[in-house]
Amino acid sequence: MGEALSLERIDPARQREVARALREFLPERAVLWAEEDTRPYECDGLTAYRKLPMVVALPETEDEVRRVLQTCSRMKVPVVPRGAGTGLSGGALPPGDGVLLSMAKFMRVLRVDAVARVAVVQPGVRNAVISEHAAPLGLYYAPDPSSQIACTIGGNVSENSGGVHCLKYGLTVHNVLRVKGFTIAGEPLELGSEALDSPGYDLLALAIGSEGMLMVVTEVTVKLLPKPQCARVIMASFDDVEKAGEAVAAVIGAGIIPAGLEMMDQPATRAVEQFVGAGYDLDAAAILLCESDGTQEEVDEEVGRMEAVLARAGATRMTVSRDERERLRFWSGRKAAFPAVGRISPDYYCMDGTIPRKRLGEVLRFIAAMEEKYGLRCPNVFHAGDGNLHPLILFDANDAEQLHRTELFAAEVLEKCVEVGGTITGEHGVGVEKINQMCVQFQPQALELFLAVKRAFDAEGLLNPGKAVPTLARCAEYGRMRVHGGRLPHAELPRF
């Protein structure tokens, strides 16, 4: 977050030149360059970082996308693709010297096939819209990031988004069959198909989660699943956060894979309860939401098994949703956790580390210690089933000193996640936000290989430059800074 507000000036001559080149094939309304028009694109969901794009392009057809890319490639102009701009890691932070390529006009659902159980959609289609289209056929698209009413499938592909049901149903990479689009040079690329595999290297797996750095996607085929006949969720209370963590391991150890398994600590449930009234037990130190889905018989059987395991693991209270309305109410609190926290603090900073579940207690204690150390509060929501933590640091961005403390707090937590064998990001992406922590998670040679993969797709580094993968020079700089600040939390990690 150090380089939050960039003061770099846009070069007006270059701006005119690029806008003019794009206007040769794009209509006037599709090429924005005046500040009042480009301002809305200055940031994504990570609002602490802002930069005014030099030019915004809003193509409507695949051919226009191809020509934008060819033009930018020829003129050596950086390009940053953008969906709904809900990303939380600054992946769509615009280039001050380049083109922000908005895919917002690609909003059509092209085909929903009930027999083949696939939907072919344009990248600007919102995640929830796919399931809305599939619902009359008894089908749905499984990954459900909490921002699903706003975020686009193109953005989901780019970040490999998850959600609250991915322990059982997987991430974007498990639910996308095919993407079609272009390389930065404007060369058409189609990866995957409606068959279950493709010849050669799995470039589809490589493209998904590549944070818009390898290709620009113009069409996505997703897998649709039959909607489970019924689902019920257990809300279980615990008087101790670590006990709740152990209960998660106990459920999985019993051979049960819940459809969703989420944890919230007391500061999080209290913030949420004021906001949506989800009916959470506010006396509990932590609550677990443990969902079963399937046929009626399956769910009845599984809920019974889950209740027995949770009771043995020390649940102090359990409520099973009686009907669909109550189930959705229990989930509404979890899905509204971020906005709810947004109401009790001027700003919040969401982390996304993933850890082996067995280290949960240790990491939560560490976070509590950091709250003391930095004098900032930090409620926790946790995709407990898959070890993905979302601690939310509460701060006031108008106070530069608080922002700085937040940044140090976050860095320490992410590096702790790496230390316990986890990762700095489970589903939000590296973007610009966690690029320094990439230096902690990966050895220089692995980073070098990432850079080589990038060059294979984009030799000149024009597509979403400066995101996700740090240069070795940047890592060396970050290493020096950390040593200088006397905060080298784990000296055993390889350095350079």
């Binding site: 490999n160 498990h174 010849p199 059987e301």
Partner: protein
């Protein structure tokens, strides 16, 4: 035990430009382009490195016998959900990942690559590099570990890998129904759109075999709905399909693997047919010309592989278009600049 000796062998081979043939148990020597180069036997680098049943993750070295790994998982009531074929007693974990093949449970559970969480690999310079990790969700950096699945050792030697495991189904039951090919395909696609616990399917010669997996109550209820008769030796039947020991796989004709859309209509090719994966995988024992088979697969929305037998030298896998071939070459050059790792095993150009 360290991967150092393997690193040294690869670094030496790179320096002298000598091709290496990475090999575990050699059970999949038949698969892909003709193996060539000096054998680099990885079986010495073996053993499960960590396994935490409640974390649903196992990490093992490449030379670990697949059977040993599966036995350890079974002892804890878990399994590799993609049900990989062994194709022989000596199959190793590394070879399994490199081949990227999944068994009968593929359509229901996912592909091998879906379960790969991380890999420590030795690239073509002999460097030991780690990607991904041991956690379910990890989007830091490009997904290089999944890229290893099915790369047939042409990018790097997979020294260690972590995969997600799942509980074994509580109950499994196999059903038999008399159905011709077209109605069987229609039924499979219709069932797949309903919440039924079908975990495998195999159609051959007018007979559809289904496996149901899940909670006792769900399996019973589905069996009642689907009808047919129960096959007592269900487990043995699916093993024989997965390991290609079933009678269908005998005979001298080449075995083709057609991976197509599950809704593709019958392919109208001469020869014998076995359909798996709810219609998405069609095995063909046939002397039909390669072009005709590849064209039919393409019409079906997929691709064909000359899986066993036949003229390997004339191409095993469906060719790539120009853009993809360029990317494959560039990636090969990034991982293995000297071109020494399993050259020609995937494509002659790599």
């Amino acid at each position: 035990m360290t991967p150092q000796p393997l690193q040294e062998r690869i670094a030496q081979a790179a320096a002298s430009g000598r091709a290496l043939r990475l090999r575990g148990g050699g059970t999949k020597d038949f698969y892909g382009g003709e193996p060539r180069g000096e054998v680099l036997d990885v079986r010495g680098y073996r053993g499960i490195m960590s396994y935490e049943p409640t974390e649903l993750v196992v990490t093992a070295r490449c030379g670990t016998p697949l059977a040993e790994l599966e036995a350890e998982l079974a002892a804890h009531g878990q399994c590799l959900p993609f049900e990989p074929p062994h194709f022989g007693e000596g199959a190793t974990f590394g070879g399994c990942i490199a081949a990227g093949l999944a068994g009968p449970r593929r359509a229901a559970a996912g592909a091998l690559r879906d379960f790969v969480l991380g890999a420590t690999v030795i690239d073509g310079r002999g460097r030991l590099l780690s990607f991904g990790g041991q956690v379910m969700k990890n989007v830091a950096g490009y997904d290089v570990s999944r890229l290893m699945a099915g790369s047939l050792g042409t990018l790097a030697l997979i020294a260690e890998a972590s995969v997600k495991v799942l509980p074994r189904p509580q109950r499994e039951l196999t059903l038999r129904l008399d159905l011709a090919e077209a109605p069987a395909l229609e039924a499979l696609n219709a069932w797949a759109g309903q919440p039924l616990p079908i975990s495998a399917s195999a159609w051959e010669a007018g007979m559809l075999t289904l496996r149901l997996s899940g909670a006792e109550s769900a399996v019973r209820a589905a069996a009642g709905r689907l009808g047919g008769t129960e096959l007592a030796a269900g487990a043995a039947f699916w093993d024989a399909i997965r390991e290609q020991r079933a009678p269908f796989f005998s005979g001298e004709e080449p075995l083709w693997r057609l991976s197509v859309s599950s809704t593709a209509t019958p392919l109208a090719l001469p020869g014998r047919l076995l359909v798996e994966w709810g219609g998405a995988l069609r095995w063909l024992k046939s002397d039909a010309p390669a072009n005709a088979v590849r064209e039919a697969a393409k019409r079906g929305g997929g691709h064909a592989t000359l899986f066993r037998g036949g003229a390997r030298s004339q191409g095993v896998f469906t060719s790539l278009d120009a853009a993809q071939l360029r990317l494959h070459r560039e990636l090969k050059a990034a991982f293995d600049p000297a071109g020494i790792l399993n050259p020609g095993r995937l494509y002659p150009e790599l």
